[in-house]
């Protein structure tokens, strides 16, 4: 209720007389373009816990969800309607929003937003059901070579991290498989694998880690440059001879709309990474099996730039 009231108060307040000097003097909103309960929403709630502390932002951050169409609804809103006054932050997912903007049909691009800081990096992994005959990526590729277009594998939609990983795997192995985008995010894609609706799937490392702990799936490979601390026994795609880099890793962080005053951006860029370092954030993220990966504004700017290039090349053929 407190959150709701805070949010209500924000929206009812007038915008006059705002000075960057006393920023923030009221609670701040963080727009998440995925539904409540999803990985992005859940992590956003964790990393913003300390915001209200005096030595942090000094004001609580309230989450609002604007889910739909793989994040397009929320980011469209953020690019076109959100106030650029520092009181409306947004959560970004890379490569999702950049890939979508390259594909077109949305009102945003990399240049519509200003990154503040990155909190997490969730690599995509290739998973199969616990009873699957596949035990390595080599098995998967061999099956796909024999049965072109027949190997069904699920992922959380088109032009999201999972789809990028799927495209990269197909390209690296030189095979054609049947990528099945599901509605309902990573959870729906995971259900398809566990229930045997599809032969395999691409999913988030954090969700796959928990599903493997529960004994539901096998994880065959990580689409990242190095092995992950949560899954030290799972080899990367590269180790298994597939030339797949970290382009599909789902980077999550905070951004503001273009046009936000520079002082506020600088202020946030200094404060927010410290908030992610807070020991309660670290503890909760670890407990949830969610890899923490803190990057400053400058690092994120460079990362966005690099992603834009790789994704343009990868998606050129589609």
């Amino acid at each position: 209720m407190k959150k709701l009231l805070a949010a209500l108060a924000i929206s009812l307040m007038s915008f006059g007389g705002m000075a960057a000097a006393d920023y923030p003097d009221r609670p701040v909103l963080l727009m998440v373009s995925y539904g409540a309960g999803g990985a992005t929403d859940f992590q956003a709630r964790i990393v913003t816990i300390p915001a209200g502390n005096e030595d942090q932002l000094g004001m609580p951050i309230a989450i609002i969800n604007k889910p739909g169409a793989g994040g397009r609804v929320g980011w469209n809103w953020f690019a076109t309607e959100a106030e650029a006054d520092g009181y409306t932050l947004g959560a970004y997912n890379i490569p999702h929003f950049i890939a979508q903007s390259i594909k077109g049909g949305v009102d945003y691009s990399k240049d519509s937003f200003e990154p503040i800081a990155n909190w997490g990096a969730d690599p995509a992994v290739f998973i199969v059901g616990k009873d699957s005959a596949f035990n390595s990526m080599a098995d998967v590729v061999a099956y796909a070579k024999e049965n072109p277009g027949k190997l069904t594998f699920s992922g959380a939609g088109l032009f999201v991290g999972h789809h990028i990983a799927a495209l990269q795997i197909e390209k690296a192995a030189g095979v054609k498989m049947a990528y099945i985008p599901t509605k309902g995010g990573g959870a729906a894609a995971m259900k398809a694998v566990i229930a045997g609706d599809v032969l395999g799937g691409v999913n988030n490392l954090s969700d796959a880690f928990r599903a493997r702990e529960a004994g539901n799936i096998k994880i065959l490979g990580v689409a990242d440059l190095e092995r992950n601390e949560f899954l030290p026994d799972v080899p990367t795609m590269k180790e298994q001879g597939l030339d797949v880099d970290n382009s599909s890793v789902n980077f999550r962080g905070i951004m503001v709309p273009k046009g936000t005053p520079q002082e506020i951006i600088d202020n946030l860029a200094a404060v927010v990474p410290k908030m992610f370092e807070h020991k309660r954030v670290k503890q909760r993220m670890k407990a949830g099996g969610s890899p923490l990966h803190i990057m400053t504004r400058d690092e994120v700017l460079a990362m966005w730039e690099a992603r834009q290039k790789t994704l343009e090349e990868l998606l050129a053929g589609l």
Partner: protein, 497 residues
């Protein structure tokens, strides 16, 4: 029987306070239009950070149970369903309230909720491993056919004619296509940026049900100064209990249908009440009374939507697959405490999970007790003059629509749909089938699209959608359901002529 050993943890001071607080709070949140169970649980999650895992889950469990039941209050008294789960309750519940039987309708709905809810939680306790496999058996083609069964229900719902019911459903399904398509990301019918997010179900629900009411109330106040007041007669509680037992058929149908639908991931409790309402109408010898303030309608709808709560947690707890939006939020609440659902959950965290489930059992009872207590205030609600009531409902409608995602766009959508519904009602269309179309459209569409893509990599759509026992059974139910509706309408016409 292991759950019996964990009742001790529920009867501690903190747990009981949270359970009582969660239940009362949940009833109030549930009764507020726009605050769905999903939102109520999402709002509570931050509070559970400060609590121990057990206590946090007890709070969430109590809130989930009671918000679902609380939605019946506004459905009955104001004809605004608190959440999609309560749509069916408006059909007979509000008609009863109009006849001065508001207190009776509320008592029946809470008692029916209690029995449905207890049955659902007992299923969760005793049959979880079996049910988990069952939930997984539902693949895309099956969920698609299930949605089609829902569409078949539309025809026989509330409208005087099957054709108008189906047309209302079509309008709802068309409205559901507005916005970005979820899989391809293509824009459909987005004539204004405000619509790019599509029509959100909660504002639509509020608009379609509340606004025509408000318009009528204001209009009456203007043209007819001697507005007839709704009166609420006191109703003895023992009588209500006896009545629920007398209506055993409705209670049984509601409970069983609600449990089955709750189990299936992706369908959720949104349609449990409506399907149960429709089925118990078909099984009842007093079909004609449905929609005229018949107690069976309320009992079936409310037992179904609470029966779905327990089974909806089965896929979540055993497979870590959230079957409904509320379950997805609960999953977040579990993970935040480092508890990963899965087959080993009951072995690894018995000291957390069993008290959680036990608290849902107790929560059902508390919900019923406090709910009936709230029902005794129903008379006061009815004493509010209609012109004042219209203003209050309008305020709640605007607030409820805005609160979903703090967006004025949702308020405009709510108002526009409401105005549209006011005129549609003049022509014999009704809101319930329209909302059902709005809910079922996306379920049918996305499952068809995904199933189709899988089938193309296998033996083609015909084999994927039209073979297999489960597919054929579901198709048969859909065909029988439509056939039965048409037949009963035709025979009713013949009898009339």
């Amino acid at each position: 029987m292991e759950f019996l050993f964990h009742f001790g943890e529920v009867f501690t001071l903190t747990s009981m306070l949270l359970l009582i607080g969660g239940t009362i709070g949940g009833l109030i949140l549930g009764a507020t239009p726009g605050l769905s169970p999903t939102m109520a649980v999402a709002l509570l999650i931050p509070f559970t950070f400060q609590l121990e895992a057990v206590h946090g889950l007890i709070l969430l469990g109590a809130a989930y149970t009671s918000t679902v039941a609380g939605g019946a209050v506004s459905a009955i008294l104001l004809k605004i369903p608190g959440a999609p789960a309560n749509i069916a309750t408006t059909l007979d519940g509000h008609t009863m309230a109009k006849k001065g039987q508001g207190a009776r309708a509320l008592q029946l709905s809470f008692i029916a909720s209690l029995f449905g809810g207890l049955f659902g939680v007992f299923l969760l306790i005793f049959l979880t491993p079996v049910l988990a496999q069952w939930a997984l058996a539902f693949s895309y083609s099956h969920t698609f056919w299930l949605a089609i069964i829902g569409v078949a229900v539309i025809g026989s719902l509330e409208s005087s004619s099957v054709v108008k019911g189906l047309l209302s459903g079509c309008i709802g399904m068309w409205l559901a296509t507005i916005g970005f398509d979820d899989i391809q990301g293509a824009k459909r019918f987005v004539f204004h940026p405000a619509l790019s997010g599509g029509i959100n179900i909660i504002p639509a629900l509020i608009g379609l049900f509340a606004i025509p009411q408000v318009i009528s109330m204001f209009a009456k106040g203007r043209f007819d100064t001697s507005v007839e007041q709704i009166t609420v007669e006191k109703h003895p509680i023992g009588e209500a209990f006896r009545e629920v037992f007398r209506r055993f058929r409705a209670l049984g149908v509601g409970t069983v249908v609600g449990s089955i639908i709750g189990l299936i991931p992706g369908v959720g409790g949104q349609i449990a009440g409506l399907v149960a309402y429709d089925q118990s109408k078909k099984f009842s010898p007093e079909k004609a009374k449905f929609g005229t303030g018949h107690s069976e309608g309320v009992i079936a709808a409310e037992s179904a939507n609470n029966a779905m709560v327990g089974p909806s947690l089965v896929p979540l707890l055993t497979l870590s697959i959230p079957g409904s939006p509320t379950a997805a939020v609960l999953l977040g609440g579990l993970i935040i405490h480092g508890i990963f659902p899965g087959p080993k959950l009951f072995d690894t965290y018995p000291e957390v999970i069993w008290p959680f489930i036990n608290s849902m059992l107790l929560g059902q009872i508390l919900m019923c007790v406090f709910g009936i207590y709230i029902a005794s205030f129903a008379a006061r609600v009815a004493q509010v003059p209609q012109s004042v009531m219209a203003a209050i409902v309008l305020g709640l409608a605007v607030y409820g629509s805005f609160a979903v995602q703090q967006s004025m766009n949702d308020v405009y959508v709510m108002a526009a749909l409401g105005a549209m519904m006011f005129f549609l009602e003049r022509f014999g269309f009704s809101a319930a089938p329209l909302v059902l179309g709005l809910i079922l459209g996306p379920i049918a569409e996305s499952n068809f699209v995904t199933g189709n893509q899988i089938s193309l990599a296998q033996d083609g759509p015909a084999v994927y959608f039209l073979t297999g026992t489960l597919n054929l059974t579901l198709i048969a139910i859909a065909v029988v359901s439509i056939g039965y509706s048409l037949w009963s309408e035709i025979s009713a016409r013949r009898a009339a002529s």
